[in-house]
Point group: D2
């Protein structure tokens, strides 16, 4: 790794690499505001803090280093854990949050606007707990920390068998070249590095759809190296963070990046899953005419029932003003689509990696001109037509790149699931309860997460009588729904 | 059965009992309109009709005898089935629909405003295929046809063992007394009647939550006598009919029954499941201030995210103008609540049986006065206060009692699932594929149902490339989502 | 007038002509319900009733004879007036309301489904107070009572000068032929009949846009014969009844007439004034994709800001499912449009006379076939294509023809304005305050009407301090807004 | 004026005072984006630019110096005007916009975060065109430029008569002390300074409600010194900018300032005029439970019809999470209210001056502690309870202080009215058409402004036929509505 990156240390000797430690006070003020909005996490501190259940546990996190994540990290440390952290997106770090955590609570390697090389350097730093191996637990988002270990183990096995080092030039995926370089360089100094990590690891809890998909693929292939809890599919995560979080943060990102009036515009939302539903709702409510593209007839019919037409991108590419990808797939908006768009059409992604939008095709388009309006807001002008489109956050998650991600309250739901998942993995580390498979949290814990968030909003639940509970065959205290219930 | 009820016969000899056969022409006109709105059922006729897959099958249905159901029945007969039908609710029959079907297509025993005795007489008639036993297949809604057979078999077993007849006076549930009377009287003439039915039966497809709950209870108890397909939990049923159907038919029922202005009113929706979500959305959009009551913290948090407060009924009983029960449970609005309501508060149920509202408590309240404004709209005046409340459809499903139920398009989704479920049961009747358990339809069929409804609404789906499909690990042609996906 | 129409008399000798006096009890029950929903009218009874300000006043009303109007009529009689009434639309009478009023309170000439000849016969009856001339005051809706007097006076003047009688064959407008016939026949028996009416008349209060437009035209021409109060343009009328009333009653009419699912459909609303805004809001909220047609760029821009595209009828005629006219103009949907519509497209009018839709063109289209599904719901099939469209209420106001019109609460706002306007005219009958011009009610009365409706909805107003009132230069007690304020 | 403020000059000799001229390139990029969103202004440039109608005109503007205003300024200069500009709010300047205009187009005196002294220094600079007197025309927002001239003239008259100078200590309004100081200091150097301004002035066009109120007061008092056009009450201003602008920029400001999740919160909107309607709509759509406070029963009833309860601030002060003032009045949220609020309740103003919120009471509250989270976001902690509230933009317009104000498209409507108003005043400067009164623009110009914005949104208007136009008595080309029409 040829970067001139050096790990710094706090006065207490904890490692970090952030943009500016002087922003710690500002970060602390915002963390304190966020705590009031994150009742689930604060309740975890109150309930579990005294027993210090994470005493002795090393937790590595790879998850957007925002103010909300700061409250998560300090919940983990309040329960006794030692923590190292990196972001899972080059643009998503809030530098004041990183500064406050680095100064006060955990080893942080993250800043807004990392290069891809810097990004993976940070990931590696977060996983490196020194000679004694890696973390006990991983909090992952998108699965990059998990990926690095799995790729590392694979390479070490090949190396052991064949003496062959990973070859970055074997792929033309620029990011994967970096991953292979890191592993190769690691192999040279310690050929069992990732095996040691794998052996120590109790498990991972994964935050998002993309990472979960990877986990199920590995489970399917039989290549998953440790237990995983799928936090994404807790109801209180996927039906809240994905839906209500994006409903909040999509317009926030659009407004901060472009100040464009949403009312009156035609907006295309690619994908009508939970994220797409949140985005479409937000745009519609702001006065846009929304059009959805979908592959799944059921989701398509849901859009129609809400008064949203379902068309193909080709049908509308020349007429729409705003394009948002939410699919979790790749190759959704290609450069050939972008060439046909109206002047100053806005193109952004809130779904998955930057390959939802064909950034590579755009960047390599002959003669294309990039005009940076401000960071994360670029106008790309096509030479033939002199027509420009506005791409947000370089095709990466626009709500994190252009705004501050999801608001604290909804992240409290997601992150309370994370804390509960980590507690569960750690508690059962020796029992064999969790095999090398992917698990979801049981419904009573899901309901508990929700319950922890009701008081803040002044809600009062109705109590079932025993007689009523029997009538519908549920326990008085829940869980109230069968596993397949869709909410 | 002491009722002066007699079966009538059409000129072709088919049995029926309806309000007025002269309404058949009117029914036929409305059936023809509905066919245009039910593309899924019409597609089934086109796809399966020529092969006559139901040739030789006897189907008994117990499901609201409406115009939409008429299109379902004529889809079944178009596929070769012979059909007998009753309604599953004393108020839900549309008499012109019943007349048209009775005249043209199937044996119908149903009219709007049956007594409970008449209701069960109709159910028994629909199940009675003559000496050769009962139906091959049942389409059930709420599970009353299924219940009658199960109770019949149980009674026959006791009778065989002990010689003891069912004793109606053993229960103080008025309706169950009628059920026991019917079984008792049947036993006298044929002590194996329900056993014969059970033996012939290939299976049942169940329409709604309440019936599904009963089926899972029987599966749990090991008492389920034949295979069952849970149509309710197809996504294209529960997330469409329950949600969008009620969003349409709740205000329809309110307006037809009371003409009350919804805007400005305070409306309490008890329960925020799919039905409650649809009702709350409709009321909110019409300008009411909606309050939800819930037992489940997850559903409660969903309501809050939509800006709907969650309180207990006690908190709001004295201030609200409209009360709607959607819980699927019993004892939700008790007479003691009703006594505290404002003058002319409207109380209605769109969830389940009339025991969501304490009708028995109301009817037996000392000195209470019932003023029938018009059929299904009663004002009940409490003697102490001279304050009256307005109860719709005598506490039964108000959208069917006071309006015409769900609109054709959304019922087309539900009923296409029914047709597919019936086809599946019949096709596999000899293969042993279905045991005495409860099944849901596979996702690809669920997606197919949705797909059949897109064209009518002018939608165009996007096609995955092979490369994209591989990237997210799904077949190009679907199914696109894991089983646990919540939509 | 060759009709076999005869005036009937109650036992007390009051004249009437209604469908069925036996429906009076049912009407009375619904009137009692409506009273609870009409706090403004009930407050007028409480405030003004004791002084009997209308003692000796004869009031003729020409306004939809509904339950709500019954409460208006009985408010007028409670204040001392003698009243004769007809409906202003051949389909809008609710027969039970007419029966209750005829039996209990006033002379009524109205039934649902009048022919045009019957309609004008009723209008004439309502204006005929016997030998002593006509009414003192008119409550008009659409201006037909006012029109008849103006045309009558005009004809009498011509007759006096030239001896020439009106010639019905001089016009090819079928309805105007009837008007001329009535006047001609009246002239023969009393050549000063309408002059006597005019001389007695203190003034008219007009309910709706269409009638107001006529009044301003007459004021402009200098032909207005008596003072008029424009109730339509009270804020508490036009911004409530037109907007929120239609938001309620458009979907009500659609659902009662067709049971069609609104969600998913494409709906075209012609005109985006107050009525159009209410209709578009209702359709959008029910899940339709709404398209607006407009002539006025400001209203068009308002639609766009709400996410509603503005196109021409030609652009969308072949794709839409529902068409609603709200313009107050004529010739909006022509038979040539109708021929291009989809099968079972729904066409209806909630704006103005039946000439918003080219009913004449449709009825006289060669080979067109009319299939009456039920009263007010007709399917018209074009011979070339065998494609049919569904026309509601024969092109007349569909919310009155197919449902029950606006709900009580919003009509209480409108009708409280009517009572106040009538009181004002009567009080000032001798002062010369009102000339032969069109007036609107002063803002403080408009605010009073609103204030009378707040308590029922549990609202609490904030009170200005004197200091604050001075700061914004308004009286503490209002009025709070300048005349040009748009709300 | 003792401030160390010095006017700077560009290389071409134009005066300015901005934060950082180096931001001009960034400003220019954003101005170019905004031009695409401001079709009305660009159409004015195309239509009027060639004739240079403002040749020789000096225009002074006192209006938020944002990107949108930059497009307005450059439209005025494109039409031939010379321009000097200041902001009308200490926080509303966008420094990159000011830099670009200062460098390229006009004399600008504005930066974000002025002190009150700096603010009035800027206003005076913008009015000072050197020895030859003041501007020919004023574009005003809130009326501060107009106020300064009126107060100046008044002081000069007193001085001439009595020799008495204005005494800043005669008022305890801190801001007015500054105004008097400026006038006093000016009087010393030129006792006819403001008279010369007044004499030269052709007129003012005023942007907003607050300024318009002042103008009507002066018209009422007979003290208005020059003609004024009330731009605020153009439909295309007040019903667009106030309503849709705030619907956009309120949540934008909330999110940028606090990142708080709006869904689930209780939000109080004080005032339900156009601004309040926009705010309430935005909050409701984002999932908040909105409560409105109102003094006007008509506006209150409108809120109720949208499902929004109307209560007093006292009723809800302890339960709400977000408070927004929109009244245009003073003393709405007092320190005594703030003391009773929940911890971290958010208090902000989007209506009028900072005196809607009792900032003075808050600042002088004994022991209160102010913690600045970031600029424009302060947490004020009360000593008794240690509970803090979050006040945005120091009580001034939060959408300008915490975000970037209204988006370009809606400002294009407002500012096109400004250009048309300025053109009208200038064209009629010698004709006497405009007296010393307040005027609104005629409806056909209002409609024209709207029409200029339809194309950008893809709208197509319907054309009246001559026959239809006659039927409703309007010209084919408009205007289409009477003056009193409310939209």
């Amino acid at each position: 790794m040829a970067l001139p990156l050096t790990v710094e240390k706090t006065t207490t000797g904890r490692e970090y690499k952030v943009k500016d430690l002087n922003q710690a006070d500002f970060g602390r003020l915002e963390i304190e505001l966020a705590e009031v909005e994150m009742p689930g996490l604060m309740a975890c501190r109150a309930e579990f803090g005294p027993a210090q259940p994470f005493k002795g546990a090393r937790i590595t996190g790879s998850l957007h280093m925002t103010i909300q994540t700061a409250v998560l990290i300090e919940t983990l440390t309040a329960l006794g854990a030692e923590v190292r952290w990196c972001s899972c997106n080059i643009f998503s770090t809030q530098d004041h949050a990183a500064a406050a955590i680095a100064r006060d609570s955990a080893a942080v390697f993250a800043w807004k606007g990392e290069t891809l090389q810097e990004y993976w350097w940070c990931t590696e730093r977060a996983l490196d707990w020194g000679p004694g191996g890696g973390p006990d637990l991983i909090v992952d988002d998108g699965g990059d920390a998990t990926l690095l270990i799995h790729e590392g183990v694979k390479a070490e096995e090949i190396y052991e068998k064949t003496g062959q080092l990973p070859d970055p030039s074997s792929t033309d995926n620029a990011e994967f070249q970096i991953v292979l370089t890191i592993i190769r360089d690691g192999l040279k100094s310690d050929p069992k590095r990732y095996h040691k990590m794998k052996d120590r690891l109790v498990g991972v809890s994964e935050e998002t759809t993309t990472g979960v998909k990877r986990l199920y693929q590995m489970q399917g292939n039989g290549t998953l190296l440790f237990p995983a809890i799928n936090v994404n599919d807790s109801v209180t995560k996927s039906k809240f963070d994905n839906l209500y979080g994006c409903r909040h943060s999509l317009p926030d990102g659009l407004m901060r990046a472009t100040d464009v009036m949403i009312a009156g515009k035609v907006a295309v939302v690619c994908g009508y899953g939970d994220v797409g539903k949140g985005c479409a709702a937000a745009l519609k409510q702001a006065g846009a005419r929304v059009i959805v593209t979908e592959i799944d007839p059921i989701c398509a019919l849901q859009a129609l029932m809400e008064g949203i037409p379902v068309l193909t991108l080709e049908d509308v590419v020349a007429e729409a003003d705003i394009f948002v990808t939410t699919t979790g797939n790749k190759d959704i908006i290609m450069v050939d689509h972008m060439r046909k768009m109206k002047n100053n059409a806005i193109v952004c992604n809130i779904g998955h990696f930057d390959n939802e939008i064909d950034m590579q095709g755009l960047e390599t388009y002959p003669g294309v001109k990039r005009i940076t309006i401000k960071p994360q807001t670029d106008r790309w002008v096509f030479p033939e037509t002199n027509v420009g489109i506005i791409v947000l956050a370089e095709g990466r998650l626009m709500n994190l790149g252009c705004a501050t991600g999801h608001p604290s309250f909804v992240m409290s739901c997601s992150f309370t699931n994370q804390v509960i998942a980590q507690l569960e993995l750690w508690k059962e580390k020796a029992t064999g309860k969790y095999e090398k498979k992917v698990y979801v949290l049981p419904k009573h814990l899901d309901e508990k997460v929700a319950a922890l968030h009701l008081g803040k909003l002044g809600a009062k639940l109705t109590k079932l009588t025993k007689d009523q509970a029997d009538y519908i065959s549920v326990p008085v205290e829940g869980p109230y729904k069968p596993a397949h219930y869709r909410y």
